[in-house]
Assembly symmetry: C2
């Protein structure tokens, strides 16, 4: 059994490679729900959906999220009737949100609703939200505190991030199966996701970080920072503005209390010593996922690094 | 002030003509909500929406309901992920249902949500649901009792209707303004809608029928039955199977306790005497609404018949 802590696009690509090299039924994914938001009354779980769409091979290959070929007629109409439409919801995507929202309204937990969505898309790995409770990633900017989606989508990550807060995390409980999936795994992998806003919320759920430190399984992460930069998204700027180092070493430092191995890019081979000084073994490989072959190769290299 | 009791397509067409000949701000519409249903967790009010879309000139001109040029990507995706998709929800249409459902979830009454939807589409007549309470038209068939939408959409009106029941009507209260709109009107018009399942639910709300009998205003109806047949829908077969006469006379009989004038088609001129025998004055005109001019002419003829 392999347990993967996952954010959005990068994690989903990694998982797509992973299920090419191990049995999908042996994979448990613990997904970030700090980005979850209610739009138009629909409960949207962006990171969980990106994992589902990617594993179901329906994801938009250009964007890395959403459904390939989706249209935006609902959104156009919503705009025409004066609704706030800064968050992009595709027409096909809405079918997913309607299913999830209906189940939640009927009393299902987010875990149950997530399993139902995964099953609807014939995704057969175990997909767990980090918690069934409401945790909301809040971003402090020079203009005040805003929700993650406001920061990420509405304001296009233009703000300097001054602080992060995972609203509700203190009182949240790990979703059923989360702690056991870490404790009982043969290996735990932290996917190449933003360590602060994609993995950070998962680590903020009480008990998760300790479970990672306590598990007998080796814990590996793939650095989402290559040559000081994030391949996608604002992770590098966010690390810097929050006083961390935008480098593989900076990532290793954030995970050092539970991490055994950090998979870093060849470009960062020179950082292996720094990473090692944190008692984290660096494993150097090509970490850029350009296509199916490189995704698979990264999954294989990560598994090899753990063994 | 003119108050119109309205079902779906026929009523909406009549209203579209009416607001061409009177000030839209002087029109109050009391709409049937017995067809309302929850699909995919969305509260759908088919008759209210048909009125809104028609008055907003966005209605599909072929079907007479839904939004012109709408697409069905959400529905296709819902089908692909195993959802029940017998009820047609267009992508643009969903924007309306999301707005209504969100407002209801936030605690708005159906009256408030309906006003918000009308306003979003810049529809400036007063549009009232018959009640803010849940009333559900139930249809008894040889295969048992089913909801109106199951009868109408899922089973395509194939069943012989053995009985009708307006579930919840006994305990329902007229929506705010409904009784006053009838009592204080200069004229009340019952639109050319199915008298049993479109107007019937409105009349089943306690107090409405009495208000129609009591109002000082003249009450006119337009017969939806011409030459023994409904122009659209199953009204003729339904009248017959429920022991009524599928004719203008049959319609007059159903409304006789409150009706002053029945507008009937030239084809039915021979029924004027029968209708008159029910103490209802028959007004003969062309009642088929083919286009904007004939809709307007019917509205004018109806107003003339009342004066």
């Amino acid at each position: 059994m392999i347990t993967v802590l996952a954010g959005g696009v990068g994690a989903a690509k990694f998982l797509r490679g992973l299920v090419d090299v191990v049995d999908v039924a042996d994979v448990t994914v613990i997904g970030n729900t700090g980005d979850d938001e209610v739009f138009f009354g629909l409960h949207v779980s962006p990171d969980l959906d990106t994992v589902v769409y990617t594993l179901a091979d329906v994801v938009d290959p250009e964007k890395g999220w959403g459904i390939a070929g989706d249209t935006y007629a609902m959104l156009e109409q919503a705009k025409a009737i004066g609704q706030d439409t800064w968050f992009l919801l595709g027409d096909r995507d809405i079918a997913t949100h309607l299913l999830r929202t209906r189940l939640l309204r009927e009393g299902a937990s987010l875990s149950d609703a997530t399993a139902a969505v995964a099953s609807a898309y014939s995704v057969t790995c175990r997909l767990l939200p980090m918690t069934d409770d409401r945790v909301r990633t809040m971003v402090s900017t020079d203009d005040g505190e805003i929700s993650f989606q406001e920061y990420f989508v509405k304001r296009r990550q233009q703000d300097d991030v001054r602080d992060l807060r995972f609203d509700g995390a203190e009182a949240a409980r790990p979703a059923p199966g989360v702690i056991d999936a870490i404790a009982d795994a043969e290996a735990v992998i932290v996917a190449p996701s933003n360590p602060l806003v994609s993995i950070g919320p998962i680590l903020a759920v009480p008990g998760v970080r300790q479970a990672l430190a306590d598990t007998a399984a080796p814990v590996a992460a793939i650095s989402p920072i290559i040559g000081g930069r994030a391949l996608k998204g604002p992770a590098d700027r966010m690390l810097t503005s929050l006083g961390h180092e935008a480098s593989a070493t900076g990532v290793a430092r954030l995970y050092a209390d539970f991490l055994d191995v950090l998979v870093i890019d060849q470009e960062d081979a020179g950082l292996a010593g720094e990473v090692g000084a944190l008692s984290v073994r660096a494993h150097v490989t090509d970490t850029i996922m350009r296509d199916a072959a490189s995704r698979r190769a990264l999954a294989e290299a990560t598994l090899q690094a753990i063994r």
